[in-house]
C-alpha cells in the first residue's frame, strides 16, 4: 500500500497564498507602541525589509515566490506527505491519518520556509545582518541557514531554557555561521534588566524578541526577522498547505480535520490556510484544530485584545490572543510553543469560530509522541507532538464511533535535537503541569508559574 505521496519538483508552488482578502472579518490594524494609533508602514522599515512590510498589508490573494527563493526551496521541497498506516493499525482506527513532513528541511522544521524569503528580501534591499530570537532553536537555525545562503551575518538570542536543554541546536547554528547568545544576555539593555530582576531567569520568547529588536536597532545595516506571528510569515509558510493540497489530491482524499501545533501560529497557518480556502470552495466542513500546551494557553485561556509582541514593549501592538506580554511560561520542552501571544490571523479565525483551539499537557503529548515514533519511525519534535497527540485522540474517538475521518497533521519537525526531552520523559522526570497551568490561566495577564 502506497504511504508516501511525493510531488514532482516541477509542481512546487510558484506562489504563496495570502488569506487576508478571504478572512470573514478584517484584521484590526497594528498600533504604534508610543502613540497607540494605527502604525504607518514606514514606521516598520527600521526593523523589517520593505517587501515584508508590503506583504504584511497586501490584499493580493496570491504572491509570487521569487526565483532565487524557489532555487533554495528546491534543496528540500516539495516535502513528502505520508499516510501513517502503521499508527492507524496500532490504534485500530478506521481514520486515515496523514502527515505533511516538514522535518525534511535542512534544519529539521518548517521554519526555513520563511527564513529564506526574509533573508532574500533583506539581502536585495542591502541589509548586511539579521538579528532574531529563538525558542527551541528551530527558528534560529533556520535563519542562520538562510543568512548563510545569501552571505549575511546572523545573531540569535536563544531562550535560556532551550539553550541549556539543546546544545546541539547551538552547534547547528554555528555550522551555519551564526552568533548565538543565551537570553537574557548581557548584550542588550533588556537582557541586563531581566538578569538584574532574576539572575537565574530561564527566559521567554517575549524577552528574547526584545533583545533581538534592540540589537537590530543598534546594529549597522542590521534588521530584525521574526519567525512567526506576523502575516507575511504565515504567507511564506503557505507553501506547506499548497503542496499538501496537491498531495492529498493524489492520495484521493480531502481532510475532514487539519491539526497543527501553535506557538506563534505560522506552522498552523502555513498548513491550514490553503485548506481553509479549498474547503470553502468545496463547501466542505473541514475542522481546523490549533493545539497549544496547557501551560502556555494563549488561545484557550488568553484574552483577545491589543498587546505587545515582546516583554520590553518595543514592538507594535497587535490584536491577538494573549496571556499578557509579561507572562513567563515554565520551561517545558516544547520551547517553540512558549509564547504569550498568537498570530492575529489565527486569533481572528478563532474569534470567528473557524479555528478550534485545544490545549494538552506535555506528559500526554510525549506518550503519543513515543507511540508515533514506535509505529512510524519518526521522532516528533516536542512542539509537533502536540498535534500528533490531538490526532491520536481523534483517531481513538473514530475507533469508538467507527467514523472513517481523514486527519491531516502538520508535522512541523523532527525531534533529533530534543532527545533530552525524550530521555526525561522515559525516565519519568517529566511532571504533569496541569495544576500549575490552571493557576496560571486563572490570572492570564502576567502570572508567573513555578514561583
Amino acid at each position: 500500500m502506497r504511504t508516501m505521496f511525493t510531488l514532482d519538483q516541477n509542481d512546487l508552488p510558484k506562489r504563496w497564498y495570502n488569506v487576508l482578502p478571504d478572512l470573514p472579518t478584517p484584521l484590526d490594524p497594528p498600533l504604534h507602541p508610543g502613540t497607540r494609533e494605527p502604525i504607518e508602514p514606514a514606521a516598520l522599515l527600521g526593523l523589517f525589509a520593505r517587501t515584508c512590510v508590503e506583504q504584511e498589508m497586501s490584499t493580493d490573494r496570491f504572491i509570487d515566490i521569487p526565483a532565487p527563493v524557489l532555487d533554495v526551496y528546491r534543496l528540500w521541497r516539495p516535502t513528502p506527505l505520508m499516510r501513517a498506516v502503521h499508527l492507524e493499525r496500532v490504534l485500530e482506527t478506521p481514520a486515515h491519518i496523514y502527515f505533511k513532513y516538514e522535518g525534511a528541511s535542512p534544519t529539521g522544521s518548517h521554519k526555513t520556509n520563511t527564513a529564506v524569503p526574509q533573508a532574500y528580501y533583506n539581502k536585495l534591499e542591502g541589509t548586511k545582518a539579521l538579528a532574531t530570537e529563538t525558542g527551541a532553536g528551530q527558528w534560529g537555525s533556520a535563519l542562520a541557514f538562510a543568512c548563510q545562503t545569501f552571505g549575511m551575518d546572523c545573531t540569535v538570542f536563544m531562550v535560556r531554557s532551550s539553550y541549556d536543554q539543546k546544545p546541539y541546536r547551538k552547534a547547528m547554528m554555528s555550522v551555519f555561521g551564526a552568533r548565538v547568545h543565551a537570553s537574557p544576555s548581557r548584550e542588550t539593555r533588556a537582557g541586563r534588566e531581566a538578569l538584574a530582576r532574576d539572575p537565574n531567569s530561564f527566559g521567554s520568547l517575549g524577552l528574547a524578541i526584545s533583545e533581538a529588536v534592540e540589537a537590530a536597532l543598534a546594529g549597522q545595516g542590521t534588521k530584525y526577522s521574526l519567525g512567526s506571528v506576523l502575516n507575511h510569515v504565515l504567507l511564506h509558510q503557505t507553501v506547506i498547505g499548497l503542496e499538501a493540497e496537491q498531495q492529498m489530491q493524489s492520495a484521493g482524499e480531502f481532510p475532514d480535520v487539519v491539526v497543527a501545533c501553535v506557538g506563534g501560529g505560522s506552522n498552523f497557518g502555513g498548513l491550514s490556510l490553503p485548506f481553509y480556502r479549498a474547503a470553502r470552495e468545496r463547501k466542505q466542513a473541514t475542522r481546523f484544530l490549533a493545539v497549544e500546551p496547557t501551560v502556555c494557553p494563549s488561545l484557550t485561556r488568553g484574552e483577545y485584545r491589543y498587546d505587545f509582541g515582546d516583554t520590553a514593549e518595543t514592538t507594535p501592538l497587535l490584536r491577538m490572543h494573549t496571556l499578557g506580554h509579561a507572562f513567563m511560561p515554565p520551561p517545558i520542552h516544547a520551547g517553540g510553543l512558549r509564547y504569550h501571544g498568537m498570530a492575529p490571523i489565527v486569533s481572528r479565525l478563532v474569534e470567528d469560530g473557524i479555528v478550534e483551539p485545544l490545549a494538552y499537557d506535555q506528559l500526554d503529548v510525549f506518550a503519543s509522541a513515543v507511540l508515533f515514533a514506535r509505529s512510524e519511525g519518526i521522532i516528533p519534535a516536542p512542539e509537533t507532538a502536540h498535534a500528533v497527540h490531538a490526532a491520536v485522540e481523534i483517531a481513538r474517538e473514530c475507533a469508538r464511533t467507527g467514523d472513517e475521518k481523514t486527519i491531516l497533521i502538520g508535522f512541523s519537525g523532527h525531534g533529533h535535537f530534543d532527545m533530552g526531552a525524550y530521555t526525561a520523559y522515559l525516565s519519568g522526570d517529566l511532571v504533569r503541569a496541569e495544576a500549575g497551568s490552571n493557576a496560571c490561566t486563572g490570572t492570564p495577564a502576567g502570572a508567573r508559574l513555578y514561583c
Copy 2:
C-alpha cells in the same frame, strides 16, 4: 532547475541484487574459528537467522524482498536522489554532483535497510531477542527500531567512545525500546577482560562484537545481528543502488564516479554493487571509490588475509582486508568507520582492481562537510563526510581540467546526532591524525594508537 529526483513508491524495488554470481573471482569461504576449515552453514545457525545464512551463500542474482519488509521500507523509502547544484556553484566545477540521501530513514542512516529484514527473518523463525554492537550508534538505533517494529527485545553494546560522544543516540535507542550498554561492559566475559586490561578503554567495534556475540549465545531465544561486513547485509543494502539507478535515469545521467565511505562496507556495497552490474552491462568505465579514515585504513594499508571479525576470536574467519583483529583505532568522530576489517565482497573487488580505496584525515573531511552543509543545507554524518570530501576533491579536479564528470555520492546519513564533532571542529579542537596514522599503518596488525 530540478534538483530532487523522487521515485514513486510503486517503483520501490521488489528484489535485492546479489553480486555473488557476478564477481570476477569467487569469494574464499569463511573458516571455522576452531578448526580453521570451511565452516558449515549449520554452524552459523546458533548466531544468525536461517534465511540470513542462506542469503549469505546464495548464488541467485536477485532475491525477493518479503512483503512485510517492503511494508516497513515504505515508512521512508524510496529515499530522494538530489543534485547538489549549490555545491557545484560554490566549487565552480563543471562536474555534476548527485547524492543519494539515506538520511531520510527513521534513524537517519542507511542501516535500517538491513535491520528491518534481519529482524523480520528472526521474528519469523521464532527469535525473541537480538543482540548487537554499534559504533557511532547508527546501527544500534536501526536495529532498535526494527526490533520495536516486529515486537522483539534488543540489546546494544555501544563502543565507549561513541557512547560518551553521542548521548542522543542512546536516547534514540531508548525511544525504540532497546537496552544499551557502553562497551567494554561488565555484562560479558570479553568486556570484563578488556576492562581488566584497561579500565579506561574507549572500546572498538571488534570488542563490542565479541560482547554482543557472547550475550547472544548466552541469552534465551536470542540471536546476533551484524550491521555490515557480511554478504547478506550488503545484499539488503542494494535497495539503495537499485533505487538510485532508476533516479539517475530520470535525471538523464549515469555516474562516471560512485563514491561512498567504508567502515564494514555495507553502505558502499549497497550503492555501488547495482551500478557495478549496470556499468558492466553498458560497458561503461565507471570508477568506484571506497573512502576510509587514514587512522583506520583497512583497505589502503591493511593486509588481504583471513582474520577474525572480532577481538575475542569468537567469529568465523573471513578473507578480507584487515588491520588485525586486535587493532584499536583512535576515537575519531566517524565511529562507524572504526573497524579493523572489511566486507569480503568489497575486499575482493579491491583485489580485482574494480574498487579503488582512498583514505582521508578527519580534519580535511570536516572542512568539506561544513562546505557541504553551508551550500546544500544538510549536515553530513562524520562517516558520510568522508565520501563528501572525496567528491569535493574530484569536483575540484574537474574545475581544473574542465572535465564534466558525473559523480554520485552515497550519502549514508545526516549528522544530527554528531553535532559535538562539529563543535569540536569549529572550535579548533580536532587534530590532524595523520602522523598517528602512519605510525599505526606501519604495523597494521594489532598496533594501538595514542599509547
